[in-house]
Amino acid sequence: MITQLSFPILLISVLMPLLLSISFPFLGRRLKPKKLAIVSFILLLVPLVTITSIFMTPTLRGGAVDPPFFSHPFAGSFSMLLDPLSAPFAFGIGLVTALVALYSASYMKHRIEEMEHEGLTPPSIGTYFMLYTMFSAAMMGLVLSTNLIEFYIFLELALLPSFFLIIWYGYGNRIRTAIMYLLWTHIGGLLFLLGVLAFGSSTGTFDILNMQTLTFNVGLGANLPIVVMLMITIGLLIKMAVFGVHIWLPYAHAEAPTPVSALLSPALIGISGYALIRISYILFTTQFQEISTILLGLALLTMIYGGLMALAQDDFKRLLAYSSISQMGYILLGISTLTINGVTGGMLHFMTHAIGKSVLFMVAGSLIVQFRGLRSIGKMGGLASKVPITATLTLIGFLFLVGIPPTLGLWSKLYIIVGTLDKAMAMGTIALVLISICLVVGAGMTAAYSFFTLKRIFLGRTPRALAGESVRGWSNLTAVIALVAIVGVALFLYPAVFIDPLKDFLGPLLPSTP
């Protein structure tokens, strides 16, 4: 049951950071980076607190929607919806964006100093926080959208700031990387938009949620040619960087400034997984079922490919980027099963991945800061003795990805695997054997790249170049990372908060499993 709120609190909580972020370049002249980070953190805390308190209210747990803030005869009504499906996403994004904002201050100070040392003049840190906050708020708006056009607008609003973050503060050949990122995802977005327009022009509405009856327009596109659904889905898959259209991701995510990688990598691409259910599945139920087997194959391929490529990387951030591709494979796998367990696991895995991967990227960032731009794993070794807390946090981050207690990863992987096996059993013996093999290989590979990396970075002998390196105190960096990890561990203990409503929500939507 979706309840309509009398006051557009969700909208306000998203627009507040989005609009107020414009003041950062001006604030940046007066305040120190740390203060800016705190302002940005507080702004981003607003949506986090709002969604948490709404979701924690038992009467609103079935879903809460704002009164529509914009209505147009052909565009439909724009509103904001928090329901069991969007809750894990909204919470994951809220948590990560708010805490990474705190992390950004010291990191970006270092990055800007480094760039000035190279003779470059990047825009001020105030501009960074403006773009960062816009990016974060746009992602939040994306997840809460109830209208296809609204969704697309937020999609582009998230794309633009992230583009500028890469082009201004990125590493390596950042201009080329940024343009590649912009064009690939813009093409994905436009493909999605064309599909959406075709859908809207023949069904007469762009609403995902019917604002009069407060029910979803389930299967509204059932009579449309499958091409429309394919356009929307492929558009989303490009943004999700599944195998075949993943080329842009390792560049963009590895070369972005590290706090931005921590958002780009788990959060932005994972949202596509959410949209696959919210848009592709809900609006095109039957067509989506028809292609679900293909998606399953694609998911397994993405999972294994990402894992293999991650094993072959030397650059820590690039490794994490490929690992993201692999984890997207898991999310897509859960979705493509279309079983309650699988989809629940897929949605939950977004949160797992958001927490785990942001912890890992932040760790990579603090290594960069502590060891002067060190990213190559081959040059690391034995760092556990120098930075024990960082080492522990890295371990926890990898535990999230591998799915070992005490992390939320256990639950999400468990659900995905159970769901996949349910589906595989329904498909026959051969499929069961093949899929099981893939699952084992995939899981093994995740474990392999996780623990090998851990060993190569933190154990063994310290290279001579690093031996004499004195480590500066970065307690505030590690504190933030630890906080993210702690929330993830807490969710391991109480996963039911998200799982139970999700199951109740998905139950009537999904085809009954044999």
């Binding site: 607008i153 633009l160 343009i179 064009l183 093409i187 327009l197």
Partner: protein, 491 residues
């Protein structure tokens, strides 16, 4: 209310009254006055009225009349707004030039011509105003008297006069077959001819072709575009802005007025779609390879014109709305971009992309404004280009041509690519030593740019405003009979 229609005439008279000191402010006063009068008319026209003023009190079809309908108003509004801003911009930009008396005179003449084309109800008068507009713009392109501007102007002059003579020939053919020069009268008589003979006579088809080629030259439709990049590059930047944001729009307006009113949508549609498609695609790819900022913008203007023609050619209400809205938006951001490039030229003295770089630090406001224009042009939310491009895509799908929307979307990616490339090349990257002492553009140049940038954002965030501005124009195009009835009671 009737006094409003004298505006073009006042503008024509203005050239007699040049006092050296006062002329800047006089020019400003005239354009502001024009703008205010148009805004004044807007309230009643947007309410659904059509204003008719009979010159000398002679009743049409014999007398000459001015008629302001939704389409005329939309074009008039764009022209008056942009002229005003460009005059303000010119104060500083043109300060070092000599012969400013001629400059402002020509500018006002140009504005007068444009307003005349927008408002006239008589097809021969349309030609006359069109020539006024054309001749003053030839002179303005050649204003700098350098080799490149003379060459651009001569090219423009030759191709342009070819275009206007085509139009004149078309008018002659129409007059020969209907015996009248009043637009409303021609339309109703042609309709009678078509119904009695059961088919469209060859002569109207020839006339239509002449009109499409004639106006097509003016708006830079491919394959009649060769003059445009040269002329835009050669002209002083404010003139490029007024040509991109005004003249081209007036050309579209006149093309629509003549083709839709006189010949009707079914006949023109496929032609416009075909030409629009070619224009859109080739323009964008040509823009991709340009090495001069102004040429890049010129080709991108051609490409955007393709979007407009394509969308209007669809002939559906949504398509026309999208096309007209895009026309409005294009006028805003294209003149914005030309003014921004003008600011760069003013400070750096070059517009070659290879020579520029790292200007973002020195001219942050110009950079920001250019970025707004570039993103609006590429159709990114929350800027105005997004709303109109969205409408165009939707119209294509709605009219049963999803492939057109697909191509338009691909070209949109190309647009984004060349604008971002330009932005990066000009404002980002390492600074060259040459630009050590470059300063931000002067305030009176920034002000018009800021106004236009604000319009980009406002129309993007509140697209309803834009839709309600183009609604009456769209109604007029789809249903010319109300216009005819208003001009010639009882027809």
């Amino acid at each position: 209310m009737a006094g409003a229609f004298l505006t073009p005439l006042v503008d024509v008279l203005a050239k007699r009254m040049n006092h050296p000191r006062a002329r800047d402010y006089f020019a400003l006063a005239v354009t502001v006055g024009t703008l205010l009068l148009v805004v004044d008319m807007a309230t009643s026209v947007l309410g659904g009225d059509i204003l008719v003023y009979k010159l000398g009190g002679w009743a049409p079809p014999l007398g000459i009349n001015l008629a302001v309908d939704g389409l005329g108003l939309l074009v008039g509004l764009i022209v008056a707004g942009i002229s005003t801003l460009v005059v303000i911009y010119s104060f500083v930009f043109m300060r070092q030039e000599s012969g400013l008396g001629q400059y402002y005179t020509l500018m006002l003449l140009l504005t007068a011509g444009m307003m005349g084309v927008a408002f006239t109800g008589d097809i021969f008068n349309l030609y006359v105003f069109f020539e006024i507009m054309a001749i003053s713009s030839y002179a303005l392109v050649a204003f700098r008297r350098s080799k490149i501007s003379i060459e651009g102007a001569i090219k423009y002059l030759i191709v342009g006069s070819l275009g206007t003579s085509f139009i004149l020939l078309g008018i002659a053919l129409l007059y020969g077959s209907t015996g009248t020069l009043n637009i409303a009268d021609i339309a109703s008589k042609l309709a009678v001819i078509n119904t009695t003979s059961g088919s469209t006579p060859l002569i109207s088809i020839i006339a239509l072709t002449l009109f499409v080629v004639g106006f097509g030259i003016k708006v830079g439709m491919i394959p009649f575009h060769a003059w445009l990049p040269d002329a835009y590059q050669a002209a002083p930047s404010p003139i490029s802005a007024i040509m991109a944001g005004g003249t081209a729009i007036v050309g579209v307006g006149a093309l629509l007025r003549v083709s839709y009113f006189i010949f009707g949508a079914p006949m023109v549609g496929p032609l416009l779609i075909g030409l629009g498609l070619v224009t859109m695609v080739l323009g964008a790819f040509m823009a991709l390879v340009q090495r001069d900022l102004k040429r890049l913008l010129a080709y991108s203007g051609i490409s955007q014109m393709g979007y407009i023609l394509l969308s209007i050619g669809l002939g559906t209400a949504l398509g026309i709305t999208g096309g007209l809205f895009h026309m409005l938006n294009n006028a805003v951001y294209k003149s914005l971009l030309f003014l921004a490039v003008g600011a760069i030229i003013y400070r750096v003295k070059t517009s070659r992309i290879d020579e520029l770089g790292g200007l973002g630090r020195k001219m942050p406001i110009t950079a920001g404004i250019f970025l707004v224009g570039a993103l609006a042009l590429a159709g990114m939310p929350p800027f105005n280009g997004f709303a109109s491009k969205l409408t165009i895509f939707l119209a294509g799908i709605d009219a049963g041509y999803p492939i057109l929307s697909g191509i338009a979307a691909i070209i949109s990616v190309v647009t984004l690519a060349y604008m971002i490339r330009a932005f990066i090349a000009v404002f980002l990257g390492p600074q060259t030593g040459r630009f050590e002492n470059v300063k931000e553009a002067p305030r009176s140049m920034l002000f018009p740019m800021m106004v236009l940038a604000a319009v980009c954002v406002v129309l993007g965030v509140l697209p309803q405003l834009g839709f309600s501005a183009v609604e009456p124009a769209q109604e007029v195009l789809l249903n010319p009979s109300s216009y005819i009835g208003e001009v010639i009671p009882g027809a």
